[in-house]
């Protein structure tokens, strides 16, 4: 059974349909990419999944439960955590305190919650900034904090909304390794990403949105050949480059 099952999701803002009849599933233990041009409705999907928006139509089943209209905090408690594309640090709290807020979800005891937080702090390479107010971090570290905080809630499914955008190429590599490590620990991942080099090599499946509609859902190798996806998003040049990359080092 799929860990996440989205069926016929429609989200309207007035007359604008940011998502229209979107359906897809995420199998446990996989990494799924959600891609598409700006304004395609990717973040809106995340906001519907996480309970920030109430979908106009459709059904979202997570871990066997219908979560379609649950409040955000209930969804988080069920094990679905998310990061925000536009980072939202709890500014006046330190990095460690930010993560601790997440850690308290599974552990009311302060000492044990602190252990969880320390672990996530290390995992996300934030040790140097642990006692800094989160509002003063660099954008790269704010992105890492988003991940660390979500991770501290002990999720089954982690939604990453452009978690590597704005990072340097070294940092991108670091984050990609981190994401693969999380999968090995058994966390399922659904990630929105524009940097194809970050997502295509690690995704088991990619879902492509354009204008609020799902236009493709398949393995990365298949999706990059898809005519519609190339036209709407990837562009010919990128598709050729990626193919060349694949042929150079077949895995």
């Amino acid at each position: 059974m799929a860990l996440l099952d989205v069926s016929h999701l429609t989200m309207k803002f007035g007359s604008l349909a940011a998502n229209r009849d979107v359906s897809f599933a995420v199998e446990p233990g996989t990494i799924v990419g959600l891609i598409g041009p700006n304004g395609a409705g990717k973040t809106t999907v995340f906001n519907c999944l996480a309970g920030l928006y109430k979908p106009t139509e459709g059904r979202i089943v997570f871990d066997g439960r219908d979560i379609t209209r649950l409040p955000a905090y209930r969804i988080s408690r069920l094990g679905l955590a998310r990061t925000f594309q536009v980072v939202r640090p709890l500014k006046e709290m330190t990095v460690l305190e930010n993560i601790l807020v997440g850690a308290y979800l599974r552990q009311a005891d302060s000492r044990r919650a602190m252990q969880i937080a320390q672990h996530c702090l290390r995992t996300c390479f934030l040790e140097e900034d642990r006692d800094r107010p989160a509002g003063g971090l660099t954008i790269g570290n704010k992105k890492r904090l988003e991940v660390a905080r979500a991770l501290a809630t002990g999720p089954k499914l982690l939604l990453l909304d452009e978690a590597v955008a704005g990072l340097t190429s070294t940092e991108v590599r670091q984050m990609v390794e981190l994401i693969q490590g999380l999968r090995r620990e058994g966390i399922t991942i659904l990630m929105v990403e524009h940097i194809m080099e970050a997502i295509m090599p690690i995704a088991d499946k990619v879902v492509v949105l354009d204008g609020g509609i799902k236009i493709a859902e398949d393995r990365p190798a298949v999706v990059v050949e898809n005519e519609e996806v190339i036209r709407a998003y990837l562009g010919e040049k990128f598709s050729r480059r990626l193919k060349a990359m694949k042929e150079a080092k077949p895995s």
Binding site: P71, Y73, S76, R88, E97, G102
Partner: protein, 334 residues
């Protein structure tokens, strides 16, 4: 630093409480003097401000209605003594529970809305409760409640011979309220309160039920404000609606904390240590200038403060600490 282990702050706290507890041993300091009166008021107002600090500082939900909870607490004790001829103790409890209930009922609808509904609603209830208590015969109406003459001691919680009893009463209140806030601050609820203040949607995404958290903060806050009200009525041997339920009283909760540092553990104490002596001595010595001088001085100080340092005196202290830390780090680096 994670606030888990014994810190310099806890040591400072222990030393402060011990020093305060020993104050009456200094001959002539806490006799039946004006100075004793000022010290007792500092402890009382610091406690009031700290109770306000829970919901309005840590959780960031500004309340202008705390005089109502303070008043309910005062009437709880006052009615136990005057109306029912009991000791004030059951009144302390009843008043505080009542205040917490009223607080939750008022804030429930507001917390589900966003924006400034809460602040506005708390503003409105002050006037409503004031009018209500003015005409309500059961609580004594506009005349209020006057205490009979009672034997001194902890049972009746009154002391007419010296102020030492009230001093220890105020100290107990102060230790209780500051202790509770310290406990909250270092545990889950404290982190949740600040998370809700810093970003409600973010907190919710981390599994925090923000409505429940704010209601809990409000209930604690009102309960403790009512305890302060209970002390206040005992100390004054009387209560009527304008004494407790007024915007003037509400503003004292707000201004003391703003001056000292909102959302900061020491803020309420610092604010009270400055404003209360100022208020009492200006009242005593500046009466020739007419009443309300203290309020004018209050207002000026707060205005200056907001311009220079919105985080209050604790903001100055923390900025200074940060600077000296940086200087120390720079020295090490060389």
């Amino acid at each position: 630093m994670p606030k888990l282990h014994l810190q310099s702050r806890d040591i400072l706290w222990g030393a402060l409480v011990c020093a305060l507890a020993l104050l009456p041993l200094i001959p002539g300091l806490i006799g039946n003097s004006f100075r004793a009166h000022v010290i007792i008021l500092v402890l009382l107002y610091a406690s009031m401000a700290q109770s306000w600090n829970i919901v309005s500082g840590y959780a960031g939900q500004t309340s202008f209605g705390h005089s109502v909870f303070f008043g309910i607490g005062a009437y709880g004790a006052g009615m136990a003594v005057v109306t029912y001829g009991l000791t004030p103790w059951p009144g302390f409890l009843a008043g505080s529970v009542m205040a917490a209930l009223v607080a939750v009922l008022i804030s429930w609808p507001c917390f589900r809305l966003s924006g400034h509904y809460f602040a506005i609603a708390t503003f409105a209830i002050v006037e409503i409760f004031n009018r209500l208590f003015m005409v309500w015969d059961w609580v004594g109406g506009a005349l209020g409640l006057d205490y009979p003459i009672l034997p001194d001691g902890w049972v009746n919680f009154v002391w007419s011979e010296t102020k030492v009893g009230f001093f220890y009463g105020a100290l107990a209140l102060f230790v209780l309220i500051f202790g509770i806030v310290r406990y909250i601050e270092t545990h889950r609820l404290g982190y949740y309160l600040r998370a809700v203040r810093e970003g409600q949607e973010t907190a919710e995404s981390l599994g925090v039920n923000s409505t429940a958290v704010k209601l809990a903060a409000m209930a604690f806050s009102a309960f403790l404000a009512a305890l302060c009200g209970g002390f206040f009525v005992q100390y004054n041997y009387r209560v009527d609606p304008p004494m407790v339920m007024s915007l003037d009283v509400s503003m004292r909760f707000v201004l003391i904390t703003i001056l000292g540092g909102v959302g900061n553990f020491w803020g309420p104490l610092l604010g009270a240590m400055i404003l209360i002596p100022l208020q009492e001595y200006s009242r005593a010595y500046l009466t020739i200038l007419g009443s309300g001088v203290d309020l004018v001085i209050f207002g000026l100080i707060i205005m200056l403060m907001m311009i220079k340092q919105p985080k209050g005196i604790m903001g100055f202290i923390e900025a200074w600490q940060a600077r000296s830390r940086e200087r120390a780090a720079a020295k090490e680096g060389v």
